[in-house]
């Protein structure tokens, strides 16, 4: 019988949304598998999340240690390696902590590794078939892993429909005693909060958001003129901030701001999942991109295949003349 363990990330004593997505993912791997939640941390926050998880998971493994109060991947890895069986299938969210933890965990568990999985196609013997994306979401691939000696798998948050939180009384097993010496060569210092910019893009109902298609810093003016005509605000995708053409506070995405506008104009944005992860609240999405195969057209409500550098000024003029 497959034993699946889900690493539950949490903040301030409350589990992240992915905690209710793991059971759906585990069910697609093997509907008969035993699924156990794993929570690591310290203090009342840890106890609170362990109790919360026991409503949904039949078994919760709790690992408590003062040094785990802030999640340090090297220590969490050591704790999990000490506690979990070596043929375990371990699910981890593909987020910034998961990317720190999971690859090294697969080495220490001597297990197969599969990253950023968006769907499972089931288990055939000990061969697990999965779906993931490559090349920034331009193509999908099937991959298989031999999980006979265990596996570490990161799943993309938001890819599996969350189950309803349960009310069944699961058991919390405190396995803190099984963790041997915890020591790390990396020490957490502090979190530096993102700087607040001149404009709060999270407050705007309409965003004109630009990506690589803007091509040059001086073309940003075209987006500003369009936004002005629409009474909107200019936001952007990551490459624009990397190039230092706009402030970080204008970036939409998992590593930037989460926005909930009514209308989102994706101008020259290909539509990576990291970018779309920052677009919430089901806005009306208009995508303009000269590449007809851009992934953004799969999620947009309205698509236009045009070069934004030519299209935006014409749209601005048309709006002004209304």
């Amino acid at each position: 019988m497959t034993q699946i363990f889900a690493y539950i990330p949490f903040k301030n004593g409350s589990a992240e949304d992915v905690a209710l997505e793991f059971p759906a993912a585990a069910g697609k791997i093997d509907p008969t598998a035993d699924l156990t939640a794993v929570v690591t941390g310290a203090g009342p926050d840890l106890d609170a999340v362990a109790q919360e998880m026991a409503k949904t998971y039949k078994e919760v493994i709790k690992i408590s240690h003062a040094d785990l109060a802030y999640p340090n991947a090297e220590l969490v890895r050591k704790a999990m390696t000490d506690v979990l069986p070596h043929d375990a299938v371990i699910l981890v969210p593909h987020d910034t902590f998961g990317m720190d933890l999971a690859p090294g965990l697969s080495v220490k568990m001597d297990a197969a590794y599969a990253a950023d999985i968006v769907d499972f196609e089931g288990l055939d013997g000990t061969t697990l078939k999965m779906i993931r994306q490559e090349l920034g979401g331009a193509v999908y691939t099937h991959v298989t892993s031999d999980i006979s000696a265990g596996a570490v798998i990161t799943i993309r948050p938001g890819s599996f429909a969350p189950i309803e939180a349960g009310s069944a009384g699961g058991t919390v097993n405190d396995k803190s005693g099984e963790v041997k010496d915890l020591a790390a060569k990396r020490k957490f210092l502090e979190v530096v909060e993102a700087e607040v910019g001149d404009v709060d893009i999270t407050k705007s109902d309409v965003l004109v958001s630009i990506g690589r298609g803007i091509e040059d810093e001086e073309n940003i003016e075209l987006a500003q003129e369009l936004a002005e005509a629409m009474g909107a605000v200019v936001s952007c995708s990551r490459p624009i901030v990397d190039a230092k053409w706009l402030e970080k506070s204008r970036q939409v995405g998992t590593s930037g701001q989460t926005v909930k506008p009514k209308v989102y104009m994706a101008m020259g944005i290909s539509g990576s999942f990291q970018h779309l992860g920052g677009v919430k609240g089901n806005p009306f999405i208009i995508a303009v991109n000269k590449n007809p195969k851009a992934p953004i057209f799969q999620v947009a409500d309205v698509g236009i295949v045009e070069d934004i550098l030519e299209f935006m000024p014409e749209l601005t003029e048309a709006i002004k003349s209304q």
């Binding site: 193509v139 957490f188 990551r238 970080k248 209308v263 009306f284 208009i286 799969q298 236009i304 048309a318």
Partner: protein
Amino acid sequence: MEILVCVKRVPDTAENEFELNSAGNDLDRDDLVYSVNEWDNYAVEEAIQIVDNVGGSVTVVTVGDDESEEVLRREMAMGANNGVLLSDDAFEGSDGKGIAAILKAEIEKGRYDLILTGAQADEGAGQVGGMLAAMLDYPYASLVNKIEAVDDATIKVGREIEGGNQEMNEIQLPCVLSIQTGINEPRYVGIRGIRKVASVDIPVKGAGDLGIDAATVGDAGAKTKRVDYFVPDLGEGAEMLEGSTDEIIEKLIEKLKAKGGL
């Protein structure tokens, strides 16, 4: 500081529209434009800036075929001092762990204080750096967007975490870091720069040179394998507006008015 940067030759997502081959199980690779993985340029730039400040040297390494030599030369044109190509038929079909094991063998033949990778490459897994660190028992930090020297034994690194926040850590050397885009502005490489390093010798090492058992890497050693490529039918997708630009704009303005965009 002796710095090794692991780089990869990848299909350029900015230059290609990806199509499947006629059998539908692989990319149509005939006309693909390849370049160095975008993240790796930031890693190499960071390494060069560190060496400019504190001295030492930058070596770039890749696991790949003969054609991968061009990305090593490009990074040497940026300013990396040495290049090493790890190439062997036995390496083909390696999964992330296979690649990490090959790199580990090369690293153990040298003496590096700092090992950098890009935060991710074409496959988007972001796996090799973390695996390499665990195999070497070195500390690791992913998604690094700031590096500050502290002393000979320690550096301070910032990691990009959710919401645009930055997690600061102190990390002991030697260590492995995966570098996020935006940490610096990679310098431009012109034709002249490439010409300068065109005749520099780049050693090529195979499984035998590295002391690697061929059965543990490549397709033979891979627990995770890609079966095929596909483009899923994701439903209807967007309603595409067609016609002349004027017609499109007229339709779009109607929709914007209906949805509160104007």
